[in-house]
């Protein structure tokens, strides 16, 4: 059984999705989806174990050996991503599609779309075949568009539509890149690509392929000038979807970037020959500041979170652009940590939306007394965004700063710390509104239901727990980075 785990990881959600379509019964569908996400979490943890034991777990489809057939290859890096994605899914899915505009009797559509999106993201992370990456990326993206469009008002449809356009452009760019690579090497298998590219690396075709693939992935990752689909999509999507996407979709895109740079093309080629860091470093720094500044001036809580995500993505790509094992580890560990914090915060937004009816910051006045548990969850997760010691945010910042110092990049260190101050400002704004202003007239004291609160607090408490227990996050991230860079020499 356990040798089939790589296949089951993706198959379970992808096959359960049509099953949901057939079953239709709301409760049945819901229980089934929950069971699948929990099962996937178990499988991903088991895969992580296997990968840490044997290095790379390989599963060949139809028993066709590579490069003939498609293979799934799990090493520490993508096992970590699989764990992040399935963990977040298992935590947020119990909330389901409450509070979005899914009409009664059609909840099964939400669950099928969610499972498809989930399975697609897992597929992107797990597969060892570049074309398969594109396919799964499309599966997850198409499902994502549907999920976003299920938001409460019509702006959600607009947001989904513009994400559809931009996302398709991104996917197309990636496809062009993959096509060019195939043209040069005649293979789509990642491990095989890496070997065959050695001879043709310096050709223009490969350079163009790299450029297309990077721009495509950057769109999916929302790297700074290509980030504009993100705020609207996250703001208008149903809270569960925002929480899930913010914690997983960009993470998977980041993983793709790692994979393309370190495994397929090799860090030496990307950074020394193509000088990718010349572009990536300033963009990351700009993202850190522009994202945080924009977050400061936002008037809507979810939009604030979305802009802060852009800044956080800046931290991740900054780690990557440092071009070192420590830097990659910092980026990888931030994947996990940011997923916890941002997932928790978007769920807080869900609680607020449910009880207050809006996520405008002015409507959150006096939340500290109206919804004490929700508000305190926000504060704790917010402290993580600032990077207060004892939270996962600190672990990420620590890893990033030590990576920067390791490269003697003092100015970058200073900028990282400065941008943390900006995070302090926008979190403080929320705290001020929630605790230091009076609740509006007639606002009732009503806490969010346990259905919302429990997942929120699971993520928030995890963000504190992993602030202390760093071995299972930073340790794994370092091992992953080591494996990733070791392969590329």
């Amino acid at each position: 059984m356990s040798e089939h785990f790589p296949a089951l990881q993706v198959l379970l959600p992808v096959l359960t999705a049509p099953l949901c379509l057939l079953l239709r019964h709301p409760t049945l569908v819901r229980v089934l989806s929950l069971a699948v996400t929990v099962g996937c979490l178990g499988i991903s943890l088991a895969l992580m174990e296997q990968a840490r034991e044997v290095g790379t777990v390989v599963y060949e489809f139809g028993n066709w050996p590579r490069p003939l057939g498609i293979e799934y290859a799990v090493d520490t890096t993508n096992a970590f991503v699989l764990v992040i994605v399935s963990m977040i899914a298992a935590v947020v899915l119990p909330i389901g599609c409450r509070n979005s505009q899914v009409p009664e009797g059609r909840e099964y559509l939400f669950y099928s779309a969610f499972l498809l999106c989930f399975g697609g993201l897992l597929g992107v992370a797990i597969t060892g075949d570049v074309f398969n990456i594109f396919v799964f990326l499309e599966i997850s993206s198409l499902a994502t568009y549907i999920l976003i469009a299920m938001g409460r008002d019509r702006r959600a449809i607009m947001a989904a539509y513009s994400y559809l356009i931009v996302g398709t452009i991104g996917a197309t760019f990636l496809l062009i890149g993959i096509g060019l690579l195939y043209q040069m090497t005649g293979t789509l298998n990642i491990a095989d690509l890496a070997v065959r590219l050695e001879d043709v690396k310096e050709t223009r075709t490969v350079i163009v392929a790299f450029a297309f693939a990077m721009v495509g992935i950057s769109i999916k990752l929302a790297v700074l000038p290509l980030h504009h689909w993100l705020p609207n999509a996250y703001t208008h999507a149903p809270p569960v979807v925002s929480a899930f996407l913010s914690a997983t979709a960009t993470k998977v895109a980041y993983y793709l970037m790692l994979r393309f740079i370190y495994t397929i093309l090799g860090a030496g080629f990307v950074f020394d020959v193509l000088q990718f860091d010349v572009i990536l470093t300033p963009l990351s720094l700009a993202a850190m500041f522009i994202g945080s500044l924009a977050a400061i001036y936002q008037t809507d809580f979810k939009r604030l979170l979305a802009y802060s995500s852009i800044a956080q993505i800046g931290y991740m790509t900054l780690g990557l652009s440092l071009n070192s094992e420590l830097g990659a580890a910092a980026g990888i560990v931030h994947l996990f940590n940011h997923a916890l914090m941002k997932g928790g915060l978007f769920l807080v937004a869900g609680c607020v939306l449910l009880r207050v009816g809006s996520t405008a910051i002015v409507d959150m006045r006096g939340l500290g007394s109206r919804m004490p548990l929700t508000a305190s969850a926000l504060v704790i997760a917010g402290l993580g965004m600032i990077g207060v010691p004892g939270t996962v945010g600190f672990v990420s910042k620590w890893a990033l700063v030590s990576a920067a110092l390791d490269q003697q990049a003092w100015q970058i260190t200073v900028l990282i710390l400065l941008s943390s101050l900006l995070a302090l400002v926008y979190v403080w704004r929320l705290i001020e509104v929630m605790y230091l202003t009076e609740a509006p007239e007639g606002a009732e004291r009503r806490e969010a239901p346990p259905l919302y609160l429990i997942p929120t607090w699971i993520l928030v408490l995890a963000s504190v727990y992993f602030g202390f227990n760093t071995e299972s996050t930073l340790g794994v991230a370092r091992a992953a980075a080591h494996q990733l860079l070791g392969g590329a020499g």
């Binding site: 296949a7 198959l11 099953l19 139809g62």
Partner: protein, 146 residues
């Protein structure tokens, strides 16, 4: 002469009624002959759907949905995927890898391959046809709302 709706043009109705079964038959041919000649589930599904689309164009969406309720289309979409995946899972139960057709027949791997491809292609065909019809339903049923 008052402008007539497309549904009232007699020639169109008669001709398309005549063509319709042949289109479906051709689709089935492409589907099941795909192993030996050009064709396969994808093409067959599109052709199959094209027949129904023709029917819908000529006789109207209401008539089409009477013959082929949207619910069936939905079921077809899911069923095809499940068929495809089910074959893969079956091969896993037969102690092979996912989608390892060799193990589907105890006696010969060639038979196994044939069997596997046959069912998988059928799954693809059903899904593609259902999705195409579903898309047609989606666009044709669209009203200018709000």
């Amino acid at each position: 002469m008052p402008r007539r709706s497309i549904h009232e043009v007699l020639i169109l109705r008669v001709v398309s009624k005549g063509i319709f079964p042949f289109v479906l038959l051709f689709a089935l041919y492409v589907q099941f002959h795909g192993d030996f000649g050009p064709g396969g589930g994808f093409q067959a599904g599109v052709i199959f759907a094209a027949g129904w689309v023709l029917y819908g164009l000529v006789f109207g969406l209401t008539e089409l949905q009477k013959a082929l309720p949207p619910r069936w289309v939905e079921i077809g979409t899911a069923l095809g995927v499940l068929l495809y995946g089910g074959i893969g899972v079956w091969s896993m139960f037969a102690h092979g890898a996912f989608l390892d057709y060799n193990v589907l027949d105890h006696h010969s791997t060639v038979h196994g391959q044939h069997r596997g491809v046959f069912w998988v292609e059928l799954g693809v065909g059903i899904t593609v046809a259902s999705v195409m019809i579903g898309i047609f339903y989606g666009f044709a049923g669209r009203r200018r709302v709000r």
